[in-house]
Symmetry: C2
Subunit: 193 residues, 2 copies
Amino acid sequence: MPIVVDPEERRRDLAEAVWRVVRRDGLERASVREVAREAGVSMGSLRHYFGSQSELLIFAMRMVIERIEERVASLPRSEDPRQDAERVLSELLPLDHQRQMENEVWLAFTARSLVDPALRALRDEAYDALRAACRRWISRLLPPGRSELEVETDRLFALLDGLAVHAAMRPVEASPERLLAVLNYHLDGVTAA
Amino acid sequence: MPIVVDPEERRRDLAEAVWRVVRRDGLERASVREVAREAGVSMGSLRHYFGSQSELLIFAMRMVIERIEERVASLPRSEDPRQDAERVLSELLPLDHQRQMENEVWLAFTARSLVDPALRALRDEAYDALRAACRRWISRLLPPGRSELEVETDRLFALLDGLAVHAAMRPVEASPERLLAVLNYHLDGVTAA
DNA sequence: GCTGAAATAGCACGACTGTGCTATCTAAGT
DNA sequence: ACTTAGATAGCACAGTCGTGCTATTTCAGC
C-alpha cells in the first residue's frame, strides 16, 4: 500500500486547486479537466480522489467553512465582550489575502447554491452558524433592558455579509481599513444603543 | 420591412427569458439554446436580435438595472426625508415577487462579474449609483453636526446588500417583514445618532 | 526481487456549447 | 402581384464537458 502522502492532504491540495480556478475563472470554469490541469494532475488521478465533480466541489466548499471555523476557534479571548466581538467578527471580514480568496470563493459557491441543492445544505449550515454567532455577540453587547436582540442580530448579520460582498466587488473602495472602520462604528453603536 | 412588433420589445422578451432561466437553473445554464427554448424561439431567431451570447447577457443585466431605476424614479416624494428614505430604500429590497426575481438574477450576474470584465463595468456603474444614493439619504438623515457621513454611507450600503443576499438565500427567515423591520430600525438609529 | 493495491494516466463516448452559415417565411412598400 | 428586407429556422463545425473505463506506474510489505 504505497501511501506516500496522506490521501486527505491530497484531497485538500486538489480542493485548493479548485479555489484558484474559481477565483481566477469562476465556478463555471471549474471543470474536472481544468482543476486537474491547475493541480498538475491527470483527470484520472483527480477522479481517484473524487468520484464525481459534485463531490469535488462540495469538498472544496466545505473546506472554506472549516478553514474559517478553525481560525475563529483559535482566536484568543479576553474578559471584554466588546474587544472579543471586534476580534472575532473582524476575523470574518476579508482583511487579508487568504481571507479575500476564501471570500470570493465563498461568494461563487453561495451564488451557485441558489440553484444547486447539494450546495444549499452546506450553505445553510454555515449561515445558521454565522447568524447564531451574531446573535450571541449581540446578546453580550446589547445594554441590559434592550429588547432588540433579533433585529440587531439580523442587522449585524446582514452588515457582515454586505461588507464581504463589497470587499469582493470593490476591493479598492472597500479596503480593509474601511471594513474595520464600519464594523467598529457599528459595534460602538450597538453597545451604546 | 415587416415590423410586427417593436424589435426592442422583442429583445426585452428575450431578456426576460434569460431571467427565468437564470433564476431556475443558474447563469451557467443560460445557454443560447436554453434561452431560445425558454422564449419559444429558434436559436437563429435569438441570434438575429443578439449577435452573441455575451450581448444577450449584458442586455439582460442592464435591464435589471433599468427596471429598478424606473421604479425608484416613479416613487412619490414628500417633505419628510425620513419617510422618503424609507420609501426609496425599501423599494430596493426584494419585498415582492418581481423584486425577488430581479434580486436573484442580479446576484447571479454580480457573482459572474467577478470574473467577467464585460459585466464588471455594468456592475460598477450600478454600485456607484447605489452608493451615491445611500450617501444622499444619509446626508439628509444625519443630525446636523455629525461627521460620520462616509462610514454611515458604507454601513447603509452594506446593510442593503446584505439584506438582499439573505433574502435570496433564506427567503423564509429573511421575510419582507423582517427586511423592512431591519431597515426601519437602522434608519431610526441613523436619525437619532 | 516479487506481489498487489494504491495512484496516476489518458482514451472514448455521448451530450452540450457558441457561433457561422444558409434557407425559408412574412409582410410592408410599391 | 412583385420585390425586398427583416424575421425565423435550423444545420454544421469545432470545442468542452462529465464520466466510465482500461492501462500503466509506483512502492510498501514480504
